[in-house]
């Protein structure tokens, strides 16, 4: 499978597009179908495709960070999004919205931050499973 030149070439183009699409899904999720969960799955799917074409090592190199870091950062972001309103005297996880719109993203809020956290955890978990299973296939010493 890894020797397919066509697959290798096309994934170089498709993976960035899939990642971009996953961001798009993440950002538009509040008003249209989409959201952090699907976005995270899409991102993981894109990288899985890349891994199938280029192998686990290359996929890790493209990802740059350990999937476990994604999980940790994602959970911390979601937690932070919940703590912001606490400092303003509102209950944990109340949505706090910025006054002004950010061009290209729209209204920024702790809800979006929370969704980013979900995105990272979902992508991280899926990648962790897939990459370590694949590494096991390749009989490496240490998958992470």
């Amino acid at each position: 499978m890894r020797d397919s030149l066509i697959l290798r070439t096309t994934t170089r183009v498709i993976m960035p597009l899939l990642l971009l699409f996953s961001f798009f899904e993440l950002l538009r999720g509040h008003n249209e179908p989409g959201g952090g969960f699907v976005g995270g799955l899409l991102a993981a799917g894109g990288l899985c495709l890349y891994m199938l074409a280029h192998g686990v090592d290359d996929a890790r190199r493209v990802l740059r960070v350990d999937p476990r870091v994604l999980i940790g950062v994602g959970l911390l972001l979601a937690l932070a999004a919940g703590l912001v309103p606490v400092f303003q005297g509102a209950p944990f996880l109340t949505g706090v919205w910025a006054e002004n719109k950010v061009p290209g993203i729209g209204k920024v809020s702790t809800v979006l931050l929370f969704d980013v956290g979900v995105y990272l955890v979902v992508a991280g978990t899926t990648l962790l499973m897939v990459l370590s299973l694949a590494a096991r296939d390749e009989e490496e010493d240490d998958p992470c």
Binding site: G29, N31, V38, V121, L128
Partner: protein
């Protein structure tokens, strides 16, 4: 938040943050710096003196108002007495510990545990809310577990730590139940939810009249006696001596084991005074006192001698609280303070001896007086206080104990006899840990002894000198603190008068006579033990070697082997078995009610079939049937993927694009993951026998029918539209989002999502751990 009472609890916790860094830099001198934390607390609390009897300072911070829980704190005579003991002895133990542990690389961790324990203990004695108290109570148990098991590479330390945790943890759970009942009873007696949770609020009602009184009393009592190591739960305390000596000095003599005493004292105005209280508490205390004092004579390890004598004193304190008269309570206060000081000092002395000679075995020790003069001085002074010899503070305590016994009407002569017996044993054990190692001939010790460093001598000397000072001049103690502490336990203002010499009246003379008799008999008993005239040691050891410890061991063994058997039965390691059990349980539990609901209800509204829906449904059905018939794993997998994708399409048809999107993505990724797993399996499925295939078919059909019934039944339920209407209406105005599904996920019910992603992350890590485990097994 700015009330200093709350800040002093936070001081030790704040110090835990810097402790590892300090320990890394300063090594054996760490204690001098970290002792600042308890020293600050001690200085602040000292400024509160003198405490006016019957007064209390309270402060509360809201926590969970709807449940009547708040961070409420209260400082009265009783709390302040404990605060001073915890912070004062704490500071000395802090200084002691780094010198004792020396270059141990885990010094930082040790201080984190010790400081956290101190914070928990401060919170415990200040807490005014039952739940706040419970939280700190459990925290002390956890810290104690970590500290006893500090040498976690020793199996003995681990077992001792677990023993202490299980016993005190069991008591903690019972205590929580008792607290909750107390809260309910308080509310039923007319208190508000907040006031019913408050210890100071309980004064307004009479819990003794309530129907729950006995349940509350038993549960709280069990909590207290497990924590304070009363018979039959006493066995964890001697085992806890496996912890480092600073821990024994601090937790298992001066502070933590006194938490149960504290709670009994704290609640005695609200629960005490009944015959049930008097008899139960008094008898448990009496039995513990006798057990501890007799068992201490059989020991030859300095720390274990001290541990059993601690049991005897804890028993005495519980017994006094059970008696509960004014005299008894005053005695308990004096006895408590005297014991905390001399016992911490004696433990430090034992630690010094162990540290410098390499052994705590008494028969290898002797004549250390010249080599370790300061340690010897501290040891002998503290032992005099322990023996209750004049003019020490312990003497006053013992005189009061005898006075209580002689003057209280409902305590018979047998209680006086029991107290004398226990105190004779205590005198002998005091001589065992002071005279034996320090006087007489030089022993044969593993190390060549010399005096311990300043940090290790300081605490013991200071504490033992204070025992002498308080004995000679008890007036400052009684006016500053003693009266207020006794008042808090009695629930009414009283005054305390302490003296070494009570003048000439019949009671005082009788008490003095008993005191002298005790000292003489104790001295004689020590002589007998030392000269081995009677085989007291082996006899007592055999007598106390049977008991609740065996029951504990048996129970633990039973739990282990039971869990082993259950696990081996349930966790067969075959995935097919797991799936089958899960499915069958679902069918058995959910099936019958679903059949009943389906048969009885009206026919489902059917909107008619559209052609594309029929095509997709037929495709899914065909794929599912084909998947069961094929022999190629890869093809089966692809077909299962087809089924999932068809489901996604159906979601699209019924306008659930979010679900459809997620479903398709999950299908894709599942296929990828499964392909990677399949890679390791043979490509062609080996068919199982006809019989097991038939069984599988039956299970599968049952599950399919159940799920179908489930979906059909759900479709017929008339749901209350208010919930979905609420979300539809509020989505845009309240959460600024038009995608209701996503708004529910990330805003309305974000707490659920937070929980779910946490589980998801943990599951991912679990998969990783399992894969690594397999690899390790293979290599």
């Amino acid at each position: 938040m700015t009330d200093p009472l709350i800040l002093i609890i936070l001081v030790p916790f704040a110090a835990t943050i810097v402790a590892p860094a300090v320990a890394r830099r300063l090594g054996a001198h760490t204690g001098w710096v970290l002792a600042l934390a308890p020293a600050i607390v001690f200085a602040y609390v000292s400024r509160l003196l003198p405490i006016e009897p019957g007064t209390a300072h309270t402060v509360a911070v809201p926590w969970v108002g709807s449940l009547g829980i708040e961070f409420a704190f209260l400082a009265d005579g009783l709390s302040v007495t404990f605060l001073l003991l915890i912070s004062g002895i704490g500071a000395l133990v802090m200084i002691y510990a780094s010198s004792y542990l020396g270059r141990d690389p885990r010094l930082g961790r040790f201080y984190v545990f010790l400081l956290a324990f101190m914070g928990a203990m401060l919170g415990l004695v200040l807490a005014d809310n039952l739940i706040t108290l419970f939280v700190f109570w459990e925290l002390t148990s956890v810290c104690s577990y970590l500290l006893i098991g500090f040498d976690h590479e020793k199996a003995e330390a681990r077992a001792a730590a677990l023993k202490a945790l299980l016993v005190t943890g069991l008591g903690g759970l019972l205590l929580l139940a008792g607290f909750l009942l107390m809260g309910i009873a308080g509310e039923q007696l007319g208190l508000s939810a907040i006031a019913a949770g408050k210890i100071s609020g309980l004064a307004a009602v009479d819990l003794r009249e309530h129907a729950y009184y006995h349940a509350i009393f038993i549960l709280v009592l069990l909590g207290c006696i497990t924590k304070s190591a009363q018979v039959p739960f006493h066995f964890w305390l001697p085992a806890a001596m496996a912890g480092p000596t600073p821990v024994s000095a601090y937790l298992h003599s001066a502070t933590m084991v006194k938490a149960g005493i504290y709670l009994l004292a704290r609640l005695s105005p609200h629960l005490g005074g009944t015959p049930e209280w008097g008899w139960t508490v008094g008898l448990i205390g009496l039995v513990t006192m006798l057990t501890g004092s007799l068992a201490t004579l059989g020991q030859r390890d300095m720390k274990r001698v001290l541990a059993y004598s601690t049991l005897a004193v804890l028993g005495t304190l519980v017994m006094l609280l059970g008696v509960g008269t004014e005299m008894a309570v005053k005695t308990a206060v004096v006895y408590l303070v005297a014991h905390a000081m001399y016992k911490a000092a004696l433990f430090m002395v034992a630690g010094n001896v162990d540290h410098e000679t390499g052994t705590r075995e008494l028969h290898r020790l002797g004549g250390l007086r010249k080599l370790m003069p300061w340690t010897a001085l501290a040891g002998i002074l503290a032992a005099l206080s322990k023996a209750g010899a004049p003019p020490m503070f312990g003497f006053i305590g013992k005189e009061m104990l005898y006075t209580t016994k002689l003057t209280v009407e409902n305590v018979g002569a047998w209680a006086v006899v029991a107290s004398v017996v226990a105190n004779v044993a205590l005198v002998a054990s005091a001589l065992m840990v002071s005279v034996w190692p320090f006087l007489g001939k030089r022993g044969d010790t593993p190390k060549k002894p010399h005096e311990a460093p300043l940090a290790m001598v300081l605490g013991a000397v200071l504490l033992s000198l204070m025992g002498l000072g308080r004995g000679l001049m008890p007036q400052p103690f009684e006016t500053n603190l003693g009266s207020a502490a006794a008042s808090a336990i009695l629930g009414r203002p009283v005054e305390m008068h302490l003296a070494l010499w009570h003048g000439v009246d019949p009671t005082a003379l009788a008490v003095l006579g008993l005191s002298l008799l005790t000292l003489t008999l104790g001295g004689g008993l020590y002589f007998l033990i030392r000269r081995r005239v009677a085989p007291v040691g082996p006899l007592l050891r055999r007598l106390f070697s049977v008991g609740p410890t065996q029951l504990y061991d048996l129970t633990l063994q039973g739990i282990y082997s039971g869990a082993d058997r259950v696990t081996r039965f349930i966790q067969s390691g075959r995935l097919r078995f797991y799936v089958m059990v899960t499915m069958l349980v679902t069918v058995i539990v959910a099936g019958p009610p679903l059949v009943r609901a389906f048969m009885g209800g009206p026919a489902a509204a059917n909107g008619g079939w559209r052609i594309h829906e029929i095509i997709v449904a037929a495709l899914a059905l065909t794929a599912a049937l084909a998947a069961t018939a094929l022999r190629s794993r890869l093809a089966t997998l692809a077909l299962v993927g087809v089924v999932g994708t068809c489901m996604g399409l159906l979601f699209v048809f019924f306008s659930a694009p979010d679900l459809a999107l997620t479903q398709v993505m999950i299908e894709v990724l599942s296929v990828v993951i499964l392909v990677m797993v399949l890679h390791r399996l043979p490509l062609v499925i080996k068919r199982s026998g006809r019989l097991s295939r038939g069984r599988d078919a039956v299970v599968a059909a049952a599950v399919g029918i159940t799920m179908t019934l489930f979906v059909l039944t759900v479709a017929r339920v008339d749901r209350d539209p208010t919930v979905s209407d609420f979300y539809l209406e509020q989505s845009v105005p309240a959460a600024h989002g038009r995608n209701v599904v996503n708004v529910i996920l990330v805003d309305f019910r974000a707490m659920d999502t937070l929980g779910e992603i946490t589980v998801l992350g943990a599951a991912g890590l679990g998969v990783l751990a399992l894969l690594r485990l397999r690899r390790k097994e293979r290599s």
